[in-house]
């Protein structure tokens, strides 16, 4: 069995603050894994470790290995810019650039020096199709991204991430700022995208985790308490702590 992503004995410190405690996990390709847990448990911190977004934090220190397709992403030879093409990220608050829809999607290609119109056009259509936004915007790609609704902006951000052909998609509470209909569209999108990608989603919404994911990991105070098939986690979790959290008894 080859895993898409493997984390081995990950410990993260912000200065002396030990925020991720000996977390290990293995994720199969073309699956959706949800990270759940109360605020401050380390789920977003751990997510950001997976594409080295925490590198920008001065006091950040990671021990352990994170491998994607068998290669340690914290190896000194790894170019972070290349890594982030392979491992894309979508954030909680939609953050389209103040540019047109078209230019938002192709931004990642342009900074790589790709400017051939046919390639850009093909990428725009493909990415917006994948993000289930194409039909809504195809007739006005020059429109400013800021004129889109919140749900459309978030799907545009997903399209922008998909434009660089990642194989892993990290989503940090991608629907928490959206209305229920837009949330539902993003969740359906996740189901479709996992045919091509391995997806990890952080969510405060346990029902969302239950709806969209194949595997769920429960974090608490930096520990990975339990990780199992979502069906098992939400019907018969092993740990009392997990059961107490998902039934709303704490957290």
């Amino acid at each position: 069995m080859s895993y898409k992503l493997e984390a081995e004995n990950i410990n993260v410190h912000y200065g002396s603050n030990h925020v991720i405690k000996n977390v290990s996990m293995k994720l199969q390709p073309n699956t959706v894994t949800a990270f759940i847990g109360p605020s401050g448990c380390g789920k977003s911190t751990f997510l950001r470790c997976l594409n080295r977004m925490n590198d920008y934090i001065d006091l950040f220190h990671l021990d352990g290995k994170i491998k994607v397709d068998g290669k340690n992403i914290y190896d000194k030879k790894v170019r972070v810019e290349e890594l982030r093409k392979q491992i894309g990220m979508v954030f909680q608050k939609p953050n389209p650039f103040p540019k047109s829809i078209y230019e938002n999607v192709v931004y990642g290609l342009r900074i790589q020096g790709i400017n051939k119109k046919s390639i850009l056009d093909e990428t725009v259509e493909r990415s917006l199709q994948q993000a289930a936004l194409w039909e809504e915007v195809k007739d006005d790609l020059k429109k400013s991204a800021l004129q889109l609704s919140g749900g459309q902006q978030q799907r545009l951000c997903i399209a922008r991430t998909l434009a660089t052909n990642p194989t892993v998609l990290l989503m940090d509470e991608p629907a928490s700022a959206l209305d229920p209909i837009s949330t539902s569209k993003v969740e359906e999108l996740i189901h479709d995208l996992k045919k091509d990608l391995t997806i990890i989603i952080v969510t405060h919404n346990m029902q969302q985790a239950a709806r969209v994911s194949d595997t769920t990991a429960f974090f608490y105070l930096g520990d990975l308490v339990e990780m199992d098939a979502t069906k098992v986690m939400f019907t018969n979790p092993r740990e009392t702590q997990t059961q107490n959290y998902i039934t709303g008894r704490f957290g």
């Binding site: 539902s184 969740e187 359906e188 189901h191 239950a210 709806r211 979502t230 069906k231 939400f234 019907t235």
Partner: protein, 222 residues
């Protein structure tokens, strides 16, 4: 279809398969009784395991759907109805198995006059037909068809009520055939219970489609 609709559709298909199997079990049990076909009765006994397997699988699917998808409104009513219909179908499967066991234990063909007198074969046909019609009703969300089951069950109740007297009289006249008579009496009781299970299923279909609870209500309200 969105993801949860796909899962609900899978559940619907699974229930339909179980339903068809249960109907088939009843049909085989009836044919086995008419001709004392022990091979056919053996098939019913063997297939009972599949009925039980369906029950477990459907229960699991319902559990997962409730846990993972938080169905509401009609979707919730559908899953709750399926949970109960599942149990009703499994019990009908048990009934068919029980009748098949009588056939396996019988040493000779059933006396045709006894079968005619008690109308047990007609009861069988009516009970099976009710199940088939309920499956159509479930598929088509046709509550008017489901409602016909309540009055049709009356026939099974009437024959069950007469059975004691009919069988007692038969035994007086045919004391050498007590075993068969008792088998037939038990079969009649079982078929009456199939009618009750079918009524329960009809109530669940009406609950799921119309959000009306008919349990324990007067006949006229149905």
């Amino acid at each position: 279809m969105v993801h949860h609709e796909i899962e609900l559709e899978k559940l619907r298909n699974e229930v339909s398969l179980m339903w068809n199997l249960t109907v088939s079990q009843m049909q085989k049990a009836k044919r086995a009784m008419v001709t004392l076909d022990r091979d056919l009765a053996g098939e019913v006994l063997h297939s009972e395991r599949r009925v039980n397997a369906y029950e477990l699988n459907i229960d699991n699917q319902c559990e997962y759907i409730i846990a993972l998808m938080n169905p509401v409104a009609v979707d919730l009513r559908f899953v709750l109805a399926v949970l109960k219909i599942n149990t009703n179908l499994e019990r009908i499967g048990d009934i068919a198995e029980g009748i098949a066991r009588y056939i396996m234990d019988s040493s000779k063909q059933y006396d045709e006059s006894l079968l005619e007198l008690t109308e047990v074969i007609l009861m069988f046909e009516e009970a099976t037909s009710m199940l088939e019609d309920l499956l159509m009703s479930f598929h088509n969300e046709d509550t008017s068809m489901a409602r016909t089951i309540f009055s049709r069950d009356e026939y099974l109740n009437e024959m069950n009520a007469k059975a004691n007297t009919l069988i007692a009289n038969y035994i007086k006249q045919h004391p050498d055939n007590i075993e068969q008579a008792l088998h037939i009496l038990s079969t009649i009781r079982k078929l009456e219970r199939v009618g009750d299970q079918s009524k329960n299923i009809a109530e669940e279909i009406i609950f799921y489609v119309e959000a009306k609870v008919l349990k324990h209500s007067d006949k006229k309200e149905k």
